[in-house]
């Protein structure tokens, strides 16, 4: 059932696609985190802005990923942007909520104490509130990263230049060639699981004071 010769021939291609997968995912998460952080800081202070942001995020998440990638092609053409715009939008759905929830989790007394110690607004944000918001923000980054690894596979529908490991799943399906499907599917699954474990480790390292939530309810 498995064509080992094909696999042996395609080791460089597999490595290249793995790299592409990580690269496409990393851009999306980093850009998404930067945007979410900016929006989240604003929304955590101006509460009235939260509902419209949350509404837009909720709408994005009802759009199927396959549709969003495909829909962008006639509008923005075919480039890395076509892949990254939806990937970033989907990370916003997760990250924005978690950034806001993270800042909300900072006790009011802590903020008042910081004010009393005459922290300026920016340094209070960065040196007092941010460290306390880290556990929830990191939980969001973890979910966003793993979700993005899955979504990158869908970019294969945009063309051969995209898709990361999803390229093999897509091409294998077109050629009805199980070996190639597996060559894409199994490493994708392992990649997602490995990154999930990695972030659990990072969470433990960065927030030794925060015991892991026993129920594992991720954001919140």
């Amino acid at each position: 059932m498995i064509d080992w010769a094909w696999l042996a021939d395609h080791v460089p291609a597999l490595l290249y696609r793995t790299g592409q997968h990580l690269y496409l995912a990393a851009i999306a998460v980093v850009v998404g985190l930067a945007i979410s952080f900016a929006l989240g800081v604003v929304a955590a202070r101006r509460r009235r802005l939260y509902p419209p942001f949350a509404l837009v995020a909720g709408l994005v998440y009802t759009i199927p990923s396959l549709a969003l990638f495909a829909a962008l092609v006639p509008i923005v053409g075919l480039s890395v942007l076509t892949a990254e715009i939806p990937l970033v939008l989907y990370t916003l759905v997760i990250l924005f909520r978690n950034v806001v929830a993270g800042f909300d989790a900072v006790p009011a007394e802590v903020r008042e104490a910081a004010d009393a110690m005459s922290y300026a607004s920016t340094s209070r944000l960065l040196r007092v509130e941010l460290p306390l918001a880290v556990p929830l923000i990191l939980a969001g980054v973890r979910v966003a990263t793993v979700s993005t690894i899955g979504l990158v596979t869908i970019t294969a529908t945009l063309g051969d230049a995209f898709g990361g490991l999803g390229f093999f799943i897509y091409e294998g399906a077109r050629r009805s060639f199980p070996t190639e499907i597996y060559a894409g599917a199994i490493p994708t699954i392992l990649l997602a699981l490995a990154l999930d474990r990695l972030f659990v480790g990072v969470q433990g390292r960065l927030t030794p004071w925060a015991r892991r939530r026993p129920d594992g309810a991720v954001p919140g």
């Binding site: 059932m1 549709a67 793993v146 899955g150 869908i154 699954i189 997602a192 990154l195 309810a217 919140g220």
Partner: protein, 248 residues
Amino acid sequence: MNIIAETAAWLSDPASWAGPNGIPVRFAEHVGISLASLLIALAIALPAGLYVGHTRRGTGVAVGIANVGRAVPSLALIGLVLPITQALDPANGFSLYPTIFAMVVLAIPPVLVNADAGIRGVDGEIVQAARGMGLTERQVLGRIEVPLALPVVLGGVRSATVQVIATTTLGAIFALGGLGRFIVDGIAQNDDGMLFGGVVLVGTLAMAAEGILAALQRRASAASSGPPGRAADRGVAGPPLPDIAPYG
């Protein structure tokens, strides 16, 4: 403007609604796959989540299953299962099972985590009072914990439903059924009207499901928390944040 006109033209073309590739057939496939997957996932995850939440036993296993289920990309999962179901059942294996299998895996984590978290979040004193009044454990769960946890539990069902409806489209990449076919075929045939028509149909279905379940959740919320406007309703998103993540 051009795209909107093309989409409207495709949606209003009688040919789009006829035949084995027509909107009604694909719509029924999409709803059927989504519904079957959700029912299977509910049958597995709801009792499991309620059990774990009530007894506090097996939490580690539940968290582990939820994390793995959340991490596994759906497209990869469909690809993984496809050759197997094809070999086992050449007649039907190709059309339904791979997508349903992947969608069950997708739907289990939010239902499981929210059922557990909802039950766990019920005020311990209320549960103790119920026990003190002589309720059996089963009655405590059925009469006290489940009604109070219902908004959170439904929140899990809601995110699972929307995720499943949106993600069922992926089956189309493997030429499986569902509304995703219009998207994939639209790309392949360079037919923007069909492509965006498919997008509109899936989006409408997902939003309709989201609207219905959100309304149910609000009703459950009003019933379980007394007069509206309490802290939980004013909070950012209520505890806990719904477990949402778009999946590939």
